[in-house]
Amino acid sequence: MMGLMAEPLFPSQAEAMKAEAGRVEAEWMHDFGAWMTAEQRRIYGLCQRMLQDPDEANSATQDVFLKAYQALQKEDAKTLDDPGRWLSRIAVNTCLDRLRSRKWQFWRRRPQPADEAVILGMARSKAPEGEQQLLASEIGSRLQLALSRLSDRQRAVFTLRHYDEMSLEEIGETLGLDVGTVKAHMFRAVGKLRKELKDLYEGGQR
Protein backbone atom coordinates (compact mmCIF):
# COMPACT_ATOMS: atom_id res chain seq x y z
CA MET A 1 0.00 0.00 0.00
CA MET A 2 2.70 2.37 1.02
CA GLY A 3 4.62 1.39 -2.01
CA LEU A 4 1.66 1.95 -4.19
CA MET A 5 1.07 5.34 -2.64
CA ALA A 6 4.71 6.35 -2.59
CA GLU A 7 5.31 5.66 -6.24
CA PRO A 8 2.99 8.24 -7.71
CA LEU A 9 3.91 10.78 -5.00
CA PHE A 10 7.67 10.69 -5.53
CA PRO A 11 7.66 11.77 -9.18
CA SER A 12 5.22 14.54 -8.44
CA GLN A 13 7.45 15.78 -5.60
CA ALA A 14 10.45 15.60 -7.85
CA GLU A 15 8.58 17.44 -10.54
CA ALA A 16 7.50 20.07 -8.04
CA MET A 17 11.07 20.47 -6.84
CA LYS A 18 12.25 20.61 -10.41
CA ALA A 19 9.65 23.20 -11.26
CA GLU A 20 10.59 25.23 -8.19
CA ALA A 21 14.28 25.02 -9.11
CA GLY A 22 13.42 26.07 -12.64
CA ARG A 23 11.40 28.99 -11.34
CA VAL A 24 14.26 30.09 -9.06
CA GLU A 25 16.71 29.65 -11.91
CA ALA A 26 14.51 31.67 -14.25
CA GLU A 27 14.09 34.36 -11.62
CA TRP A 28 17.81 34.38 -10.99
CA MET A 29 18.54 34.59 -14.70
CA HIS A 30 16.06 37.42 -14.99
CA ASP A 31 17.83 39.28 -12.18
CA PHE A 32 21.20 38.53 -13.72
CA GLY A 33 19.98 39.75 -17.09
CA ALA A 34 18.70 42.99 -15.59
CA TRP A 35 21.95 43.53 -13.75
CA MET A 36 23.95 42.76 -16.87
CA THR A 37 21.90 45.24 -18.90
CA ALA A 38 22.48 47.92 -16.30
CA GLU A 39 26.24 47.33 -16.15
CA GLN A 40 26.93 46.34 -19.75
CA ARG A 41 27.64 49.78 -21.21
CA ARG A 42 29.96 50.71 -18.34
CA ILE A 43 31.89 47.46 -18.56
CA TYR A 44 32.16 47.68 -22.33
CA GLY A 45 33.47 51.26 -21.97
CA LEU A 46 36.02 50.13 -19.41
CA CYS A 47 37.19 47.30 -21.69
CA GLN A 48 37.25 49.64 -24.67
CA ARG A 49 39.47 52.11 -22.84
CA MET A 50 41.74 49.42 -21.51
CA LEU A 51 42.12 47.51 -24.77
CA GLN A 52 41.59 50.29 -27.32
CA ASP A 53 40.09 47.86 -29.77
CA PRO A 54 36.31 47.64 -30.27
CA ASP A 55 36.26 43.97 -31.30
CA GLU A 56 38.48 42.85 -28.48
CA ALA A 57 36.50 44.96 -26.02
CA ASN A 58 33.34 43.23 -27.18
CA SER A 59 34.89 39.81 -26.67
CA ALA A 60 36.32 40.83 -23.29
CA THR A 61 32.93 42.15 -22.13
CA GLN A 62 31.39 38.78 -22.94
CA ASP A 63 34.16 37.06 -20.98
CA VAL A 64 33.52 39.34 -18.02
CA PHE A 65 29.81 38.54 -17.77
CA LEU A 66 30.43 34.86 -18.38
CA LYS A 67 32.97 34.79 -15.55
CA ALA A 68 30.59 36.73 -13.32
CA TYR A 69 27.79 34.30 -14.09
CA GLN A 70 29.96 31.27 -13.38
CA ALA A 71 31.21 32.79 -10.13
CA LEU A 72 27.70 33.64 -8.98
CA GLN A 73 26.46 30.16 -9.89
CA LYS A 74 28.89 28.56 -7.48
CA GLU A 75 27.30 27.65 -4.21
CA ASP A 76 30.12 29.16 -2.20
CA ALA A 77 29.78 32.53 -3.87
CA LYS A 78 29.66 34.96 -1.01
CA THR A 79 27.25 37.84 -0.90
CA LEU A 80 28.80 40.78 -2.65
CA ASP A 81 29.03 44.10 -0.85
CA ASP A 82 29.53 46.05 -4.03
CA PRO A 83 28.66 44.05 -7.16
CA GLY A 84 29.66 46.93 -9.43
CA ARG A 85 33.18 47.09 -8.07
CA TRP A 86 33.43 43.30 -8.11
CA LEU A 87 32.48 43.36 -11.78
CA SER A 88 35.00 46.14 -12.47
CA ARG A 89 37.66 43.99 -10.90
CA ILE A 90 36.79 41.07 -13.17
CA ALA A 91 36.82 43.43 -16.16
CA VAL A 92 40.20 44.96 -15.34
CA ASN A 93 41.78 41.56 -14.72
CA THR A 94 40.31 40.18 -17.94
CA CYS A 95 41.71 43.14 -19.85
CA LEU A 96 45.12 42.85 -18.16
CA ASP A 97 45.24 39.16 -19.13
CA ARG A 98 44.45 40.07 -22.71
CA LEU A 99 47.03 42.85 -22.76
CA ARG A 100 49.62 40.45 -21.38
CA SER A 101 48.91 37.91 -24.10
CA ARG A 102 48.89 40.73 -26.67
CA LYS A 103 52.53 41.44 -25.84
CA TRP A 104 53.41 38.30 -27.80
CA GLN A 105 51.46 39.60 -30.77
CA PHE A 106 54.13 41.98 -32.00
CA TRP A 107 52.22 42.67 -35.22
CA ARG A 108 49.50 44.59 -33.38
CA ARG A 109 51.44 47.11 -31.36
CA ARG A 110 48.96 49.94 -31.64
CA PRO A 111 45.50 50.50 -33.06
CA GLN A 112 45.31 50.94 -36.81
CA PRO A 113 44.31 54.41 -38.08
CA ALA A 114 40.86 53.09 -38.92
CA ASP A 115 40.43 51.79 -35.36
CA GLU A 116 41.62 55.09 -33.98
CA ALA A 117 38.86 56.83 -35.91
CA VAL A 118 36.35 54.40 -34.41
CA ILE A 119 37.72 55.04 -30.94
CA LEU A 120 37.56 58.79 -31.48
CA GLY A 121 34.00 58.49 -32.71
CA MET A 122 33.01 56.37 -29.75
CA ALA A 123 34.66 58.66 -27.25
CA ARG A 124 32.94 61.75 -28.57
CA SER A 125 30.08 63.05 -26.53
CA LYS A 126 26.66 62.31 -27.91
CA ALA A 127 25.27 65.84 -27.55
CA PRO A 128 27.89 68.35 -26.47
CA GLU A 129 26.34 71.29 -24.74
CA GLY A 130 28.28 74.38 -25.53
CA GLU A 131 31.81 75.13 -26.54
CA GLN A 132 33.39 74.14 -23.22
CA GLN A 133 31.88 70.71 -23.32
CA LEU A 134 32.76 70.19 -26.96
CA LEU A 135 36.35 71.16 -26.24
CA ALA A 136 36.46 68.87 -23.22
CA SER A 137 35.00 66.07 -25.30
CA GLU A 138 37.60 66.51 -28.02
CA ILE A 139 40.41 66.63 -25.51
CA GLY A 140 38.83 63.54 -23.95
CA SER A 141 39.21 61.76 -27.27
CA ARG A 142 42.88 62.75 -27.40
CA LEU A 143 43.25 61.63 -23.82
CA GLN A 144 41.77 58.26 -24.65
CA LEU A 145 44.22 57.72 -27.48
CA ALA A 146 47.05 58.89 -25.23
CA LEU A 147 46.20 56.04 -22.83
CA SER A 148 48.19 53.77 -25.13
CA ARG A 149 51.34 55.46 -23.81
CA LEU A 150 50.68 54.06 -20.35
CA SER A 151 51.67 50.68 -19.05
CA ASP A 152 48.84 48.21 -18.46
CA ARG A 153 48.62 48.89 -14.73
CA GLN A 154 48.96 52.65 -15.16
CA ARG A 155 46.13 52.54 -17.68
CA ALA A 156 43.94 50.49 -15.35
CA VAL A 157 44.55 52.86 -12.46
CA PHE A 158 43.99 56.01 -14.50
CA THR A 159 40.90 54.62 -16.23
CA LEU A 160 39.26 53.70 -12.94
CA ARG A 161 40.01 57.16 -11.54
CA HIS A 162 39.21 59.32 -14.53
CA TYR A 163 36.31 57.41 -16.06
CA ASP A 164 34.83 55.51 -13.12
CA GLU A 165 35.60 58.22 -10.54
CA MET A 166 36.99 55.78 -8.03
CA SER A 167 39.12 56.97 -5.15
CA LEU A 168 42.64 55.60 -4.81
CA GLU A 169 41.45 53.37 -1.97
CA GLU A 170 38.66 51.95 -4.11
CA ILE A 171 41.08 51.38 -6.98
CA GLY A 172 43.39 49.57 -4.58
CA GLU A 173 40.54 47.31 -3.46
CA THR A 174 39.45 46.70 -7.04
CA LEU A 175 42.89 45.80 -8.30
CA GLY A 176 44.10 44.12 -5.13
CA LEU A 177 46.90 46.66 -4.68
CA ASP A 178 47.86 48.79 -1.71
CA VAL A 179 47.18 52.52 -1.89
CA GLY A 180 50.89 53.38 -2.13
CA THR A 181 51.29 51.25 -5.24
CA VAL A 182 48.15 52.73 -6.77
CA LYS A 183 49.47 56.21 -6.04
CA ALA A 184 52.81 55.41 -7.67
CA HIS A 185 51.08 54.11 -10.82
CA MET A 186 48.79 57.13 -10.88
CA PHE A 187 51.71 59.53 -10.42
CA ARG A 188 53.46 58.07 -13.47
CA ALA A 189 50.24 58.02 -15.48
CA VAL A 190 49.49 61.67 -14.73
CA GLY A 191 53.09 62.54 -15.61
CA LYS A 192 52.77 60.85 -19.01
CA LEU A 193 49.40 62.45 -19.74
CA ARG A 194 50.42 65.86 -18.42
CA LYS A 195 50.00 67.64 -21.74
CA GLU A 196 46.51 66.28 -22.43
CA LEU A 197 45.40 66.92 -18.86
CA LYS A 198 46.81 70.46 -18.95
CA ASP A 199 44.88 71.15 -22.17
CA LEU A 200 41.76 69.62 -20.68
CA TYR A 201 41.81 71.57 -17.44
CA GLU A 202 43.32 74.80 -18.69
CA GLY A 203 41.93 74.93 -22.22
CA GLY A 204 39.16 77.49 -22.62
CA GLN A 205 39.71 78.68 -19.09
CA ARG A 206 37.24 81.25 -18.08
Partner: protein, 176 residues
Protein backbone atom coordinates in the same frame (compact mmCIF):
# COMPACT_ATOMS: atom_id res chain seq x y z
CA UNK B 1 53.48 72.61 -3.37
CA UNK B 2 54.60 75.94 -2.08
CA UNK B 3 52.26 77.87 0.09
CA UNK B 4 53.58 81.15 -1.26
CA UNK B 5 50.51 81.70 -3.32
CA UNK B 6 48.44 81.61 -0.14
CA UNK B 7 50.17 84.57 1.35
CA UNK B 8 50.48 86.41 -1.92
CA UNK B 9 46.87 85.85 -2.70
CA UNK B 10 45.59 87.04 0.63
CA UNK B 11 44.99 90.45 -0.89
CA UNK B 12 43.43 88.77 -3.92
CA UNK B 13 46.15 89.93 -6.27
CA UNK B 14 48.84 87.28 -5.92
CA UNK B 15 49.79 83.92 -7.42
CA UNK B 16 47.13 81.37 -8.27
CA UNK B 17 47.50 77.63 -7.96
CA UNK B 18 49.31 76.21 -11.01
CA UNK B 19 47.23 73.85 -13.15
CA UNK B 20 49.72 71.02 -12.65
CA UNK B 21 49.35 71.27 -8.87
CA UNK B 22 45.58 71.21 -9.19
CA UNK B 23 45.70 68.20 -11.50
CA UNK B 24 47.99 66.32 -9.09
CA UNK B 25 45.63 67.02 -6.21
CA UNK B 26 42.60 66.11 -8.30
CA UNK B 27 44.06 62.71 -9.19
CA UNK B 28 45.23 62.12 -5.64
CA UNK B 29 48.95 62.12 -6.29
CA UNK B 30 49.84 65.34 -4.46
CA UNK B 31 51.27 64.92 -0.97
CA UNK B 32 49.21 65.75 2.12
CA UNK B 33 50.96 69.07 2.74
CA UNK B 34 50.28 70.22 -0.80
CA UNK B 35 46.65 69.21 -0.57
CA UNK B 36 46.27 71.11 2.70
CA UNK B 37 47.89 74.19 1.17
CA UNK B 38 45.64 73.94 -1.86
CA UNK B 39 42.48 73.79 0.21
CA UNK B 40 43.66 76.65 2.38
CA UNK B 41 44.18 78.68 -0.77
CA UNK B 42 40.83 77.70 -2.24
CA UNK B 43 39.11 79.00 0.85
CA UNK B 44 40.60 82.44 0.18
CA UNK B 45 40.71 82.64 -3.60
CA UNK B 46 37.44 82.76 -5.50
CA UNK B 47 39.08 82.34 -8.93
CA UNK B 48 40.99 79.20 -7.94
CA UNK B 49 37.96 77.83 -6.15
CA UNK B 50 35.96 78.15 -9.36
CA UNK B 51 38.77 76.51 -11.33
CA UNK B 52 38.86 73.64 -8.83
CA UNK B 53 35.12 73.13 -9.11
CA UNK B 54 35.44 73.25 -12.89
CA UNK B 55 37.86 70.30 -12.87
CA UNK B 56 35.16 67.79 -12.03
CA UNK B 57 32.90 69.24 -14.70
CA UNK B 58 35.61 69.08 -17.35
CA UNK B 59 36.59 65.57 -16.32
CA UNK B 60 32.98 64.51 -16.63
CA UNK B 61 32.68 66.12 -20.08
CA UNK B 62 35.86 64.41 -21.27
CA UNK B 63 34.78 61.05 -19.90
CA UNK B 64 31.51 60.75 -21.73
CA UNK B 65 30.35 57.15 -21.90
CA UNK B 66 31.38 55.10 -24.89
CA UNK B 67 28.76 55.51 -27.55
CA UNK B 68 27.28 52.20 -28.65
CA UNK B 69 23.96 51.44 -30.23
CA UNK B 70 21.23 49.51 -28.36
CA UNK B 71 21.37 46.94 -31.18
CA UNK B 72 25.06 46.35 -30.50
CA UNK B 73 24.38 45.87 -26.79
CA UNK B 74 21.46 43.55 -27.52
CA UNK B 75 23.63 41.45 -29.83
CA UNK B 76 26.31 41.36 -27.19
CA UNK B 77 23.80 40.13 -24.59
CA UNK B 78 22.59 37.42 -26.96
CA UNK B 79 26.20 36.30 -27.42
CA UNK B 80 26.68 36.20 -23.65
CA UNK B 81 23.51 34.14 -23.13
CA UNK B 82 24.62 31.77 -25.91
CA UNK B 83 27.96 31.30 -24.19
CA UNK B 84 26.26 30.78 -20.83
CA UNK B 85 24.03 28.08 -22.28
CA UNK B 86 26.84 26.40 -24.19
CA UNK B 87 28.40 23.73 -21.99
CA UNK B 88 31.90 24.76 -21.11
CA UNK B 89 34.58 22.20 -21.88
CA UNK B 90 36.01 20.62 -18.77
CA UNK B 91 39.52 21.69 -18.02
CA UNK B 92 40.87 18.18 -18.51
CA UNK B 93 39.27 18.01 -21.95
CA UNK B 94 41.53 20.82 -23.03
CA UNK B 95 44.73 20.03 -21.15
CA UNK B 96 44.88 16.26 -21.41
CA UNK B 97 45.06 16.19 -25.25
CA UNK B 98 47.57 19.04 -25.23
CA UNK B 99 49.77 17.32 -22.63
CA UNK B 100 49.51 13.97 -24.45
CA UNK B 101 50.51 15.54 -27.74
CA UNK B 102 53.46 17.29 -26.09
CA UNK B 103 54.68 14.06 -24.46
CA UNK B 104 54.29 12.10 -27.72
CA UNK B 105 56.21 14.76 -29.63
CA UNK B 106 59.01 14.78 -27.08
CA UNK B 107 59.22 10.98 -27.11
CA UNK B 108 59.30 10.95 -30.91
CA UNK B 109 62.08 13.51 -31.02
CA UNK B 110 64.14 11.59 -28.45
CA UNK B 111 63.55 8.18 -30.08
CA UNK B 112 64.02 9.09 -33.71
CA UNK B 113 66.76 11.58 -33.26
CA UNK B 114 69.36 11.11 -36.03
CA UNK B 115 72.60 9.55 -34.83
CA UNK B 116 75.11 12.18 -34.02
CA UNK B 117 78.24 12.27 -36.14
CA UNK B 118 81.35 11.24 -34.24
CA UNK B 119 83.16 14.31 -33.13
CA UNK B 120 86.15 15.20 -35.20
CA UNK B 121 89.32 14.78 -33.28
CA UNK B 122 91.90 17.48 -33.35
CA UNK B 123 94.59 14.88 -33.85
CA UNK B 124 92.87 13.76 -37.00
CA UNK B 125 93.09 17.27 -38.32
CA UNK B 126 96.74 17.41 -37.37
CA UNK B 127 97.41 14.07 -39.00
CA UNK B 128 95.60 15.24 -42.08
CA UNK B 129 97.79 18.26 -42.11
CA UNK B 130 100.88 16.07 -41.80
CA UNK B 131 99.64 13.79 -44.56
CA UNK B 132 98.98 16.76 -46.74
CA UNK B 133 102.48 18.04 -46.16
CA UNK B 134 103.90 14.61 -46.93
CA UNK B 135 101.77 14.36 -50.03
CA UNK B 136 102.96 17.75 -51.19
CA UNK B 137 106.60 16.79 -50.66
CA UNK B 138 106.04 13.56 -52.55
CA UNK B 139 104.34 15.43 -55.36
CA UNK B 140 107.14 17.97 -55.69
CA UNK B 141 109.65 15.16 -55.65
CA UNK B 142 107.84 13.25 -58.38
CA UNK B 143 107.50 16.34 -60.52
CA UNK B 144 111.20 17.05 -60.11
CA UNK B 145 112.15 13.52 -61.05
CA UNK B 146 109.81 13.63 -63.99
CA UNK B 147 111.36 16.86 -65.17
CA UNK B 148 114.81 15.32 -64.83
CA UNK B 149 114.04 12.02 -66.46
CA UNK B 150 111.47 12.85 -69.04
CA UNK B 151 112.57 13.03 -72.59
CA UNK B 152 109.91 13.31 -75.17
CA UNK B 153 110.40 10.82 -77.96
CA UNK B 154 109.91 13.52 -80.60
CA UNK B 155 113.18 15.12 -79.58
CA UNK B 156 115.29 12.11 -80.53
CA UNK B 157 115.78 13.08 -84.25
CA UNK B 158 116.63 16.60 -83.24
CA UNK B 159 119.14 15.31 -80.73
CA UNK B 160 120.57 13.10 -83.43
CA UNK B 161 121.08 16.13 -85.61
CA UNK B 162 122.98 17.82 -82.88
CA UNK B 163 124.94 14.72 -82.25
CA UNK B 164 125.75 14.42 -85.96
CA UNK B 165 126.69 18.07 -86.09
CA UNK B 166 128.93 17.77 -83.10
CA UNK B 167 130.50 14.61 -84.61
CA UNK B 168 131.25 16.49 -87.83
CA UNK B 169 132.76 19.33 -85.96
CA UNK B 170 134.93 16.90 -84.07
CA UNK B 171 136.16 15.43 -87.38
CA UNK B 172 136.96 18.86 -88.79
CA UNK B 173 138.88 19.74 -85.69
CA UNK B 174 140.78 16.51 -85.94
CA UNK B 175 141.61 17.23 -89.59
CA UNK B 176 142.80 20.68 -88.72
Amino acid sequence: MSTEYNKANSNNGGIHVPAAAMVDAFYGVADDRAVAALHAHLAECQACSERWEGLAEKRSASASPVEVSPEFLAAQRRAIYARIERPQPEVWRVWVPVATAAIALTAAVVTFRPAAEPPRQETVIVSTAVNTAENDAQLFSDVYLLEQSYEPSATAPIQALFLEESGRNDAVEERN
